[in-house]
Amino acid sequence: MRFTSALLSLALSASAFAGDTVKIGVAGPMTGDQKETGEQLKNGAELAAEHVNKAGGVNGKKIELVWGDDEAKPPQAKVVAEKFANDPDIMLVVGHFNSSCTLAGQTTYDRVGLVEFSPASTNPTVCEKSKWTFRNLYRDDFQGQLLARVAKEILGAKKVCVFFDNDDYGTGLKDSFVGKAKEIGLEVAQVEAYTRDTADFSATLDAFNAKKPDVIFISGIYNSAAAIVRQARSKGMKAQFVGGDGLKDDALIKNAADAAEGLVLTSPFSIEATSEKAVAFRKAYNDKFGRDPGTWAAQVYDAVMQGAVAIKKGGLDRTKILEAMQAMNTKEKGYDGVTGVTWFDKNGDCEKPAFVEIVKDGEFVPHEKQLK
């Protein structure tokens, strides 16, 4: 009987056993060309839900994750956001992934009143616009400036070339890097963009090579970066590669093989430098999915865990959950997770330290020098 009644109202997202679960929406690119990052998001969230549920759930209720595939496209993100916002059972949204999608969903969440907790959007303006939006990683501008200092102070570079992914993440990071680099007296020899579907970087790399830079900064994510460093090394280029947190993923090392050796990057999440929590997380992730977690998986894991804490405090009331999130406004009241302590300023941005890491013997390890 229930089958037919459900058929009649086709668009019904089933909420038959809403009584014993708490729903958290998880939004990100589950299909399309950024599916792989979406998979990390899915894994991290699944693991977190499993851990929360194993520990007794939230106020006696189990967490149920509802997936929203935004395909990394803002119009789709809008549809997903409306779906989540209109489902009164959904208490909190972890997502979206791309800044443009977070912003597309933001207006909807803001109007309806639903916490949007992004684990990955680094565009500086994301949190300023709505009190309902939070994130648990630092902003592009912070990281870009840090990376410029890494290039100069740790790596002793004089001349840099910048290769950036032409999306909001890559562009934002590049802007702040270039700004800071000029300020501290680095020579920015050439700045070039690539798109996410670029596969052949030869032409630009040869052009860079002719300029003989000390450091090439890759402002993008790991897949393209792996291809870039591998193509560069196979051309015999000697420049040092530097990148942001988007590069931190097992796949970088797997895809770039030896070429990744010596790559320096910043990361919000360093197993060696943080707590045993991080070590335990890595093990649990590895047991379940057979690979090490990347930056995003850890970020999402923390976001779901922290969201669960907020729901625990706020109960099944979206406004109270917002208040619970807002109350995490000092380091002491923050949430201590695998990526460090997350607490929010009045915009919903968070302050987190970044670690400088280097790829050594096929592993990400902390760089011997860290910036203060």
Binding site: R2, L10, A11, L12, F17, M30, D69, K78, P88
Partner: protein, 461 residues
């Protein structure tokens, strides 16, 4: 007035869409229907616009997304200009977007008048690619990868609460949700303490915690201030205008608004199709040479088609921008063109009702595939026991239950397969054009060529 029979499906659909938001489904379902309905309507507008060129003049267009993009960016750029802050500016921007696209349609089409068939297709494709690369990278014009995120949406008429000279230290009450404040160079503004959020026009850097700011000039918009928040203006010559009511993108009002646009577009296009222009298109499509021989200026009528197609695309793009409230290059890739094209071919190329039905089917199919149907305990056990091998392709486990659902990663697989199957079993589309002289298929032509006597039997077939 007698309504032709072939319009029946459209009227049924219109009736359905009219009452759909009023049916007392559970609230969640209803809102989801309104939300998806809005998306479908926007795609209908795209599809209607695209149909003009491949459907009525027979030229394949593989880059229609270019117009959607130009329309969206035109709206985004115009709508934020300080001197375009009057009531109904959204409508002005929308029409401007349509006209802008009409110009581009002509500019794109005019040099290609000599081209036929697939060569025209590749020009349209290349044009869309070039434009996308430009939009992605040309920061000063399009804000590059970031696009326009600060998008105010459609507001109904607002009311002015203060214009002109004011003594120093006057406090202006701010309506909930924001408004528009214009002030001269050097005005000093004091914001309320307490960490609310504001959102200045581009080019004005703002350190968030500061509560006193000296602004260079210009207009200032904000939103999400609580009711009763205030901004103090320490300057003469300001004006403040409270915003009108926002038509929320996911509201019944917006739904009906889009529905009206679709109906207007359908009516206008149907009229155009039955006019001298439409008949000229048909003649050109059927046989260019005989059309020419009958004194039809191919060039002139093609230009008209390009302009009309571009105009509708621009309107659609602008509406989509209002609906989505963000304009970034990531929304306008090749697959959008493909989806729109698939809509019209699936429905029946060249037939308005086909285009409408095709779009309704295809776009809602895309959304329908996201939903799952929960199975009762009996069926759940059956699925668990007997259909394990189909798990994660056709159904998913949800706790102890089973859900009939195409998992996200397989959604496009199913979508592609459905597209192929429908075309194989109904190559003319779901509702092909009726009651007009259709161009002969290659097969029929061949028969005519090889056996002139068959000509007399052709009509019956």
């Amino acid at each position: 007035m007698k309504i032709p029979r072939e319009w029946a499906p459209l009227l049924v659909l219109l009736g359905l869409t009219l009452i759909l938001p009023l049916i007392p489904f559970p609230e969640t379902v209803q809102k989801r229907l309104v939300s998806v309905g809005g998306i479908v309507f926007i795609y209908m507008i795209f599809a209607l616009g695209l149909n003009v060129v491949p459907g009525w003049t027979g030229l394949l267009d593989l880059g229609y997304v270019a117009f959607v993009m130009i329309g969206a960016y035109t709206v985004a750029i115009l709508y934020r200009l300080p001197w375009l802050q009057f009531e109904g500016a959204w409508l002005f921007c929308l029409i401007a977007a349509g006209l802008h696209c009409a110009i581009w349609g002509v500019l794109r089409g005019a040099p290609t008048l000599r081209l036929i068939g697939d060569y025209y297709a590749i020009v349209t494709f290349a044009f869309a690619q070039i434009l996308l690369i430009f939009v992605q990278n040309c920061g000063p014009v399009t804000n590059a990868a970031k696009g326009y995120t600060d998008f105010p949406g459609i507001r109904l008429a607002g009311h002015a609460t203060g214009v002109g000279e004011l003594p120093p230290d006057t406090t202006v009450e701010i309506a909930e949700g924001g408004g528009t404040l214009t002030f001269p160079r050097g005005a000093r503004l004091i914001f309320p303490r307490g960490g609310e959020h504001w959102n200045p026009s581009p080019g004005v850097p703002l350190d968030v915690p500061a509560d006193v700011k000296v602004w260079e000039s210009g207009t200032f918009r904000w939103r999400n201030l609580p009711r009763g928040g205030s901004v103090t203006v320490r300057s003469a010559g300001y004006s403040y205008k409270a915003p009108g009511k926002l038509i929320e993108p996911n509201s019944k009002a917006f739904y009906y608004f889009l529905l009206i646009v679709v109906v207007v577009a359908v009516a206008a296009l149907a009229r155009l199709h039955n006019s001298r222009v439409g008949r000229a298109w048909l003649a050109m499509k059927s046989d260019e040479i005989s059309a020419k021989a009958n004194g039809i200026s191919i060039q002139k009528y093609r230009i008209v088609a390009f302009a009309v197609s571009g105009f509708i695309g621009g309107i659609g793009g602008g509406l989509q921008a209002y609906r989505v409230e963000i304009v970034t290059p990531g929304s306008y890739d090749f697959w959008v063109s493909v989806l729109i094209l698939a809509c019209i071919v699936l429905g029946g190329l060249g037939s308005i009702r086909g285009v409408i039905v095709g779009t309704a089917v295809l776009v809602s199919l895309g959304e329908l595939l996201r939903e799952g149907i929960e199975l009762g305990p009996g069926l759940s056990t059956f699925f668990h026991n007997n259909l394990r091998w189909l798990e994660n392709v056709a159904w998913q486990a949800a706790g102890d239950h089973a859900m009939l659902k195409v998992p996200d990663q397989a959604r496009y697989l199913v979508f592609g397969a459905i597209l192929v199957l429908v075309m194989i079993f109904r190559p003319q589309g779901l509702l092909p054009p009726k009651g007009e002289c259709e161009p002969l298929t290659e097969d029929e032509r061949e028969k005519l060529r090889s056996a002139p006597t068959a000509l007399f039997r052709m009509g019956k077939q």
